[in-house]
């Protein structure tokens, strides 16, 4: 075609990025790469390799090592071996290494971008302008943290050896999100990149060599799911950080339940993209391009559910279609391509299958007539309309360039539809009214909300989900907690639990050997004293065996009712912090008035001395959390754009709490109060040793203006009730502080809706100590951070 013809057609023409440097690098490795363990590349123990392929051409780029349990073991040993030396460095020295990594990433930015695009299929524009700059930014930001962690997190120490498993959609970026905070906090790392995209991680290994990072601090083991499994199951790993599917996240939670591995999960999403009638519609449509057509839609926080206000829906669909028609699908190394290749055939097939299913269920499928490449794995941008909340494509994560469009009538309905999902990763809200935008943002159950923007990421801002999108945050101050633990907790002795079997239940009317107690303690559900559904009670005895009374024997139905009541009371979260504080102070006041009688009764079980201490410190603790109510506040982050990123601390929701056995009053207050003060509602299972404490407490609650349902207390067999709570899909978190076995049960039984688990890990906590028994550690678990990005400007 001559210049003249091109002049007449005004087509873009090809604009390929040159892959030569990458090919030279691959050839230098003879197109065969081993694991990176202990500072050196080494062949896999079992000698097995597999192909990694350019999805846009189908051509193999290299073979990489298939990691076996032996390789993982070698890597973990290397990481363990390097830990002491790494931790003995000064914070400043660690900062220098991270800084060097950032510089080195920048120096090699184009090479990394091209390699990423070839291995993953994403457009070079994205790897060049988004992925790699963010990788460097992440290391810079955390170089800063490396220096500041000891000052900013006093009393916290690193987890130790961290196992990290990352997905194929942002291979090097996810590596940076994992490795930078881990190293900054003094951990050493074994990282397994995704099977489809191992190359940039191995390139990064070379960069580690270039900056002379001490051997063993970062280890990279390539392989498939079985390699990841070996890492998760390795007994000498202290923490697992995972980004990937909710399904695998669940498996990891289950597999680590028996261990004390700390875990953080960043999982799937079905993020809403909400457009109000007063939005800048053209900009919102452009937002969609960045929302669902970024990285071929293979983004966990992709704005895959388009929610449009009815009044503008038709206009919007027209605009979306027009915009889709100008998208360019093609070879990802072309600089003027919007949509590159899908990472693997299995993913392409999955996308097609889900789209087919959507159409079979009545969705109208629209795809622009674009020129599609003749080879490689490509999927055209796709719009599914006539989609309803019941449609598969509105519920399931497609992980492809497929947008499902629905309408809403009012802001309230927008929120309802947006939250009508098991996921809660991200959301976009488009409106020119700050009132509408922030009102909606506050109500969305999502870890990140972008106002009039989408898919913005920065190292200074936490990223992570609500609900089944996982737990933990990556980035910012909130992200560092995932790699730190309180020093005392790490060293805490084992909690010795004497098995305390509840005797056979007795009929409430049965006459007891001692004079009858003049009160009947009931369950406390929805602000009412309730008889147990079972109609049974169980005996509560003093330390000397004397019968103190009978506690109601709660069962699964009581838990069900309690959870229902707790859920109904969720307006507690919207009560002002000041009001919550007032109620807590009032509780302390009422507790103090009854101090004498409560102490007296408690003394029969725990002894006079402890009873006195429990009541005295209990009152203090309630005071302490009343104080925290309006002080454990959020932050405004500083990402490098003109915008305000509000890191709001929100309550987790409904929290099930299994209270320590040997500290009936103080233990319960130490756990229930932080949850309460942050706006959570609670279902508490009191000490099995002395469940009668609830009789004293509900009288305090009732006289303190605590709204009904905010705290519910169900006594009974701890294990049985814990199981029901842990499995209940409307409970958001489970806190278990009754020893190892319950901790394991809480972790493994809660996988259904991936509850956040907070437990004593079988360790003894000194509830009398302020350091251990109260404060930020508990508040941290009582909240989750929602980052709301608000770009501004006129």
């Amino acid at each position: 075609m001559s210049v003249t013809e091109k002049f007449l057609s005004m087509e873009y023409g090809p604009a390929p990025e040159d892959p030569r440097e990458v090919l030279v690098w691959l050839d230098r490795h003879a197109r065969k790469l081993g694991h990176f363990i202990g500072g050196a590349f080494r062949p896999p123990a079992e000698g097995v390799y597999f192909d990694t392929v350019d999805p846009s051409t189908g051509e193999p780029l290299a073979v990489v090592a298939q990691g076996s349990a032996a390789d993982i073991d070698a890597a973990v040993k290397a990481a363990r071996g390097a830990l002491a030396e790494w931790q003995s460095l000064t914070p400043h020295a660690r900062a220098r290494y991270l800084y060097a990594l950032a510089r080195q990433v920048q120096k090699h930015s184009r090479w990394l971008a091209v390699l990423e695009t070839m291995d993953n299929g994403k457009p070079i524009r994205e790897s060049r302008d988004l992925d790699i700059p963010l990788v460097a930014r992440h290391f810079y930001h955390h170089a800063g943290w490396a220096q500041l962690v000891p000052q900013e997190f006093p009393g916290y120490v690193s987890c130790g050896v961290v196992g990290q498993i990352i997905p194929w959609n942002f291979p090097l970026l996810m590596l940076a999100w994992k490795i930078a905070p881990a190293l900054a906090t003094g951990n050493t790392v074994v990282l397994k990149p995704a099977e489809f995209t191992p190359l940039t991680a191995l390139a990064f290994a070379e960069i580690c060599q270039e900056v002379e990072l001490p051997a063993g601090v970062v280890n990279i083991v390539t392989g498939d799911g079985s390699t990841g499994e070996a890492l998760v199951k390795h007994p000498d790993v202290d923490k697992i950080a995972f980004t990937g599917s909710t399904e695998v996240g669940r498996a990891i939670r289950k597999a680590t339940a028996q261990s004390h591995k700390k875990i953080s999960l960043e999982l799937g999403g079905k993020s809403p993209f909400i457009i109000f009638e007063d939005a800048d519609l053209d900009s919102a449509v452009e937002g969609l391009v960045d929302g669902i057509w970024l990285n071929q839609g293979q983004v966990c926080c992709a704005g895959s559910r388009l929610l449009m206000q009815e009044s503008v829906a038709e206009t919007l669909i027209g605009k979306v279609r027009e915009r889709m028609s100008t998208l360019r699908v093609g070879p990802p190394l072309d600089k003027a391509i919007d949509i590159g290749a899908i990472v693997a055939r299995v993913q392409l097939e999955r996308i097609q299958r889900l789209v087919d299913q959507g159409v079979a269920e009545g969705a109208i499928c629209w795809q622009p007539s674009l020129t599609m490449p003749s080879r490689g794995l490509f999927f055209p941008p796709t719009l599914l309309s006539n989609v309803h909340p019941t449609s598969t494509v509105a519920q399931q994560e497609i992980f492809g360039p497929v947008l499902a469009a629905m309408t809403f009538r009012t802001p309230r309905e927008a929120v309802e539809l947006a939250n009508n999902t098991v996921y809660g990763l991200a959301a976009s809200v488009w409106s020119e009214s700050i009132n509408v935008a922030l009102h909606v943002a506050a109500q969305l159950k999502a870890g990140v909300v972008w106002v009039n923007s989408t898919n913005l990421f920065d190292a200074a801002c936490g990223f992570g989900g609500y609900k089944e999108s996982g737990y933990g945050r990556e980035g910012g101050r909130e992200g560092l907690f995932e790699y730190l633990e309180p020093e005392w907790f790490k060293r805490a002795p084992r909690l010795e639990t004497k098995p305390k079997a509840i005797d056979q239940p007795r009929d409430q009317d049965i006459e007891s050997a001692v004079p009858p107690i003049d009160r009947t303690v009931k369950l406390y559900i929805g602000g009412k004293q309730a008889r147990p559904d079972s109609g049974y009670s169980f005996e509560v005895r003093a330390a000397d065996g004397r019968l103190l009374g009978e506690a109601p024997l709660g069962n699964r139905k009581d838990i069900r009712n309690a959870v229902e009541a707790a859920r109904k009371a969720d307006s507690w979260a919207r009560t002002t912090a000041h009001s919550r504080a007032q109620i807590l102070y009032y509780m302390a006041e009422n507790l103090s008035q009854r101090a004498g009688e409560i102490t007296g009764r408690l003394a029969a079980v725990v002894g006079k001395e402890q009873a006195h201490a429990e009541v005295r410190l209990g009152i203090e603790r309630v005071f302490s959390y009343a104080a925290w109510a309006d002080k454990y506040d959020g932050a405004v982050h500083n990402p490098p754009f003109r915008n305000i990123a509000l890191a709001m601390r929100e309550p987790v929701g409904t929290v099930g709490i299994v209270c320590p056995a040997d500290m009936p009053l103080l233990g319960l207050l130490s756990l229930v109060m932080p949850a309460l003060t942050m706006g959570n509602t609670v279902v508490a299972i009191p000490s099995e040793t002395y469940p009668l404490i609830i009789g004293d407490l509900y009288q305090v609650f009732e006289t303190s203006d605590l709204p009904g349902g905010v705290v519910n207390m169900v006594s009974g067999r701890c294990d049985e009730l814990l199981k029901v709570l842990a499995e209940h899909n409307d409970v958001d978190a489970i806190w278990s502080f009754v020893g190892e076995a319950s901790s394991v049960a809480a972790k493994s039984l809660s996988v259904g809706n991936l509850k956040q688990v907070f437990s004593d890990e079988g360790r003894a906590i000194d509830w009398f100590s302020i350091e251990q028994g109260e404060g930020r550690w508990f508040l941290h678990h009582a909240t989750q951070v929602k980052n709301i990005w608000v770009p501004y400007g006129e």
């Binding site: 210049v3 604009a15 524009r125 800048d280 900009s283 020119e432 003109r642």
Partner: protein
Amino acid sequence: MAVTKDPRLGSSAANLIAGAADLRLSGDKEALATLAERELQPNRGIPLNLDWVENIRVNTSAVERRAQTLVTRRTVKKDWQVAWLLRAITCMDLTTLSGDDTDERVRRLCAKGRQPIRQDLVKLLGSESLNIRVAAICVYHSFVETALRALEGSGIKVAAVSTGFPAGLSPLDERVTEIRRSVEAGAHEIDVVITRAHVFGGRWQALFDEIATFKAACGNAHMKVILGTGDLLTLRNVARASMVAMMAGADFIKTSTGKEAVNATLPVGLVMTRAIREYAQQTGMAVGFKPAGGIRTAKQSIEWLALMKEELGASWLNARLFRLGASSMLADIERQLEFHATGRYSADYRHPIA
């Protein structure tokens, strides 16, 4: 002449339609452009619709982001780049608007407009058949006749800046008279400036009337309405002013006089092209776009062409609907073309100046 008292000016739809009829008489029957497969006609204007003005929403941050990434999403290389640069030349309003302009200076500019690229380069690039020349020469009124004579037979249009350019603050009848004089002198195109104060005050009717008055005075000459976006400052103002200008019959909307502190920026261009698209969708009429001021490099010319192609489509990529107001950009394009033709980087002095 008491133009402001002319009864037609209050509601000028009727005379706008008359103007459109003139256009049709001039033989312009085929569609001017297409948008989403719909054929668009030249703009005849419509009565002022305040709802359209009030309903405009512009999110500055989002627009900036799009402008920023648009130029990283699109690029042209090699022969395609040559083709695009040649296209940019054909869309250029080669401009001189200086206090020291003289007839001779204008003649020099016209000569450059006729032959913007060295003949040997044209041959090397294989673009002889395209007969590349600029779209128009843009001058002050005093030089219209000079330019017309110098451009005779070339097909290059003569554009006169008018209406108290660049401030636009002289009395209305004087501004209208200025237009008439330039039209009488034979200018094909009139670049008018608006009263920015009307925008700040939200006096959309006054703005509409002013522009409609200009349009009436332009007769068959094409009217480019300069919004002075650097003065308007907010993108929302830019969008509203664009919409009013189009309703009042603008053939082109143009960013700047080149004399404001900030001239044509991509975010402003994005807002204006989106307004043009919106207007086309609502009315079936196509309006042209002219960024002006601060456009100096070949790369910028390609960015603007890409913006037009992305936001409005390929049918906007010609001089009938797109102009680049520039004076020094051509020199950079020439250097780039020489590089393409020879593989060696070029120097300014190797290309004849205007």
